[in-house]
Amino acid sequence: MNDARDALVVVEDATKTFTTGRLEVRALRGISLEIHEGDFLALVGPSGSGKTTLLNLVGALDRPTGGVVRVLGRDLSTMKKSARAELRLRELGFVFQAYNLVPVLTAVENVEFVLELQGLGASARRSRALEVLAELGLAELADRRPNELSGGQQQRVAVARAIAARPKLVLADEPTANLDGASAEQLMALMRRLHDEHDVTFVFSTHDPRVVAHATRVVTLVDGKVSSDVEKERDAA
C-alpha cells in the first residue's frame, strides 16, 4: 500500500521460520507492508496467521529469516541485539495482552522504570510518570501494585508505561483480550485519544471486531501472508 506519509516501518518480502527439532514452522511467508506515521492499524487474522510474529519483527524483538524489515530506517538484520534494545527503548512502546507489569513495583514505578532505563534523572522521571498517569486518569492509583488494580487499570498503566518515553510507535498485542467489554472500550478510547491528540502511531493485533472498529487501517493476515490491507473510516465511538 503506497502512502505519501513517512514510513516508520518498511517490511519487504519478510519471512520467518521457526525450527523445533526436525519441525520447521513457516510463520511468515513473504510479507510486504509499510506502517506510516499516524497509522492506527489493526492486525487481524485467525490464530496462527502470523500476527504476533509480525509484531515481533516490527517491534525489533526478533529478526526476519528472509527479506528486509526496516524500523525507523534501520535494517533489523544488520543490527546487534544491544542496538535493537536501544531502538526499542528510545523509539518504541509496547502493550502486552497479559499487561506484564512488574508485580513488585507500584504503578508509578512501573512507568518510571522505562524512563530510568532511558537515563532520566530521579525527579524528572517521577514527575513525568505521574504526569502520564494523571493524563490517563490513574493518578490516585500511582502507589498501588499491579495486584491491587483491576485488569482494565493494569492495562491503562501498561499504556502509560508504553507512552511515557514518547515513542514514535506503540505496538499492542491483543491489548483487550483479557478485558471485559467496558474496559476494552475504555482502553480503545484512550488509545484513540493518544493517537489523535499526541500523534502516537499505534499498531495492534486483535481478534475483537469491536476493537477493529476503532482502527483507521486494517491489515488481515492469513497463513503468514497479507490477504488484505484496507484504509477505513473510523466507526463512531
Binding site: T52, L55, N56, G59, L61, D62, K81, S82, A85, E86, R88, L89, R90, L92, F94, F96, Q97, A98, N100, V102, P103, V104, L105, E109, E112, F113, V114, E116, L117, Q118, A122, R161, D173, E174
Partner: protein
C-alpha cells in the same frame, strides 16, 4: 546499576519468595561461619607458632652466616658479630638480641657420657630470649663473666646421672682437628616438661664454646621483636646492618618444619572451607537460577522494553550482593560468638597430643597445650569477602542466563 527503581526491583524480588531467600542466606551464613572458624583456627595456630618459635630459641629474626640455613653447620661463625649485635640491640623495635655459638661434643660424668650440642650463650640476654631456661627447677642460670659452668636439661642430667655442683668433662674436636677438653660445673637444671627439649639443653658461656671449638665468635644472633606484627618493617631496617658473609633469616626460614606444618594445616583448612563454600555456592546458584527461571517472562518484558543484557545481569548480581551481605551478617551472628568463646576458653589439645602440663614439643619448640583460635575485627571483612565472593560467583550463571532472555517471549502468552 541503572538507578533506584532497578535497585528496588532487585530488592523486592528477593522478598517475593522470602523462604527461598532466607534459606539461601542461611546456607551461605553457615558455610561462611565454618570458614571463619577455620580461619580463626589457622590464624591462632600461626600466632601460637610465632610465640613458640620466638620463646623457643628460634626468635623472630636471626642473623646467621651464609650457608648456615642450608647446611645447619654449627662450625660457621659471623664475621664482625659483636658490631652486628651492638647495632641490633640499639635498633628500635628490638626487644632482645642475643648471640649463640654451638659445638658438638661429648659430656662425661664418671662412666656415663652423652652426645650433646653445647650452646654457648650470653647469660645477660639468653633467659629473655629462651623460655626453656627462664625458670630452673634446680640451681641458677649462668652468670655474666663466669666460665666453666653449665646448665643442663632434666633429661640430659638424668642420662648423665648429674646433679648440681657435679663436674662434667666436655670433649670436642676443635678447628685444628685436635681434641679439646673443658671441665664444667653443673650450676642449674632446667625442666620444661618436654622430655625432647630437656634432652637438648646444655648451656655454657659463649667463651667456653669458643675455647672448646677453637672458633672465636658467635654463630648466630637471635632477635626478638617488640611487635610481632611489625616483623617485616623490622627486618627491612635490620637488613642493612647485617655484616658481609651473613644473612637475615625469619622464624619461618629457621624453622622450616614449622612452616611446612602451618602450610599443610592452612592448605587442609583452605580445602575444607573451599569444599563447603562450593557446595553452598551450588545451592545458592540453584536457588537464584530458579528465581530467574520463575521470572523468565518478566525478564523478557524488561528486555522488550529496552533493558539491556548488562542491566539484567546487574539486577541478578545485586540480588546476589544483598544475599551475600545478609549472609555475612548471619555468619558473624553465629560464628562470631563461637570464635570469641573458643578464643577466651581455648581448646585443650592435650588430649590429642602427647604432651605434658607444660605443653607439647614440635620441631624442638614447646607449644602450650591450650590453643587459642584468633578473634578480632578481621572477622568482619573476612565474613563479607567470603559471603560476597560466594554469592557473586553463584549469581554469575543465573545472571548470564537472564542476559540471554529472548525479548520475543514477552509477546507470548502462557496458557
Amino acid at each position: 546499576m541503572t538507578g533506584t527503581v532497578t535497585m528496588r526491583y532487585a530488592l523486592r524480588s528477593l522478598r517475593r519468595n522470602l523462604r527461598r531467600s532466607i534459606l539461601s542466606v542461611a546456607g551461605v551464613a553457615f558455610g561462611v561461619g565454618i570458614g571463619l572458624i577455620a580461619l580463626s583456627w589457622v590464624r591462632g595456630e600461626e600466632t601460637m607458632s610465632i610465640n613458640a618459635a620466638a620463646a623457643g630459641g628460634v626468635g623472630h629474626l636471626r642473623i646467621a652466616p651464609l650457608g648456615w640455613n642450608e647446611r645447619r653447620d654449627v662450625e660457621l661463625r659471623i664475621d664482625g658479630w659483636s658490631d652486628a649485635l651492638a647495632r641490633a640491640r640499639a635498633l628500635d623495635g628490638v626487644a632482645v638480641a642475643t648471640p649463640r655459638a654451638r659445638v658438638e661434643g661429648l659430656l662425661g660424668l664418671g662412666t656415663r657420657s652423652a652426645h650433646v650440642e653445647l650452646t654457648g650463650v650470653d647469660p645477660t640476654t639468653e633467659q629473655a630470649a629462651l623460655r626453656h631456661v627462664r625458670a630452673l627447677s634446680e640451681g641458677r642460670y649462668l652468670a655474666a663473666g663466669e666460665h666453666g659452668e653449665i646448665v643442663l636439661g632434666r633429661t640430659l642430667a638424668r642420662r648423665l646421672g648429674a646433679a648440681l655442683d657435679d663436674e662434667l668433662v666436655a670433649t670436642a674436636v676443635d678447628a685444628t682437628g685436635e681434641m679439646s677438653n673443658l671441665l664444667l660445673t653443673v650450676v642449674g637444671i632446667a625442666e620444661t616438661g618436654s622430655e625432647d627439649i630437656d634432652a637438648m639443653i646444655a648451656h655454657v658461656a659463649l667463651a667456653d664454646v669458643e675455647t672448646l671449638s677453637g672458633r672465636p665468635g658467635a654463630g648466630e644472633i637471635t632477635i626478638l621483636a617488640e611487635d610481632v606484627y611489625a616483623l617485616e618493617a623490622l627486618a627491612a631496617r635490620l637488613g642493612p646492618l647485617v655484616p658481609a658473609g651473613s644473612e637475615l633469616l625469619t622464624w619461618l626460614e629457621v624453622a622450616p618444619e614449622l612452616r611446612m606444618n602451618l602450610e599443610s594445616d592452612g592448605a587442609f583448612f583452605d580445602l575444607a572451607v573451599g569444599i563447603i563454600l562450593f557446595v553452598v555456592l551450588l545451592g545458592v546458584a540453584s536457588a537464584q537460577l530458579t528465581g530467574v527461571l520463575e521470572r523468565r517472562k518478566e525478564f523478557a518484558v524488561l528486555a522488550a522494553l529496552g533493558m539491556r543484557a548488562r542491566a539484567l545481569v546487574a539486577v541478578v548480581v545485586v540480588e546476589g550482593l544483598v544475599l551475600g551481605g545478609a549472609s555475612a551478617l548471619g555468619a558473624l551472628a553465629w560464628a562470631g560468638p563461637s570464635v570469641r568463646k573458643l578464643n577466651v576458653d581455648g581448646v585443650n589439645l592435650g588430649a590429642l597430643m602427647d604432651s605434658s602440663e607444660a605443653g607439647y614439643s614440635f620441631g624442638g619448640l614447646l607449644f602450650d597445650p591450650v590453643f587459642h583460635p584468633d578473634f578480632g575485627a578481621w572477622l568482619v571483612p573476612h565474613a563479607f569477602a567470603l559471603a560476597l565472593t560466594a554469592t557473586i560467583l553463584a549469581s554469575l550463571y543465573p545472571a548470564w542466563f537472564a542476559s540471554r532472555t529472548d525479548p520475543a517471549n514477552a509477546l507470548r502468552v502462557d496458557r
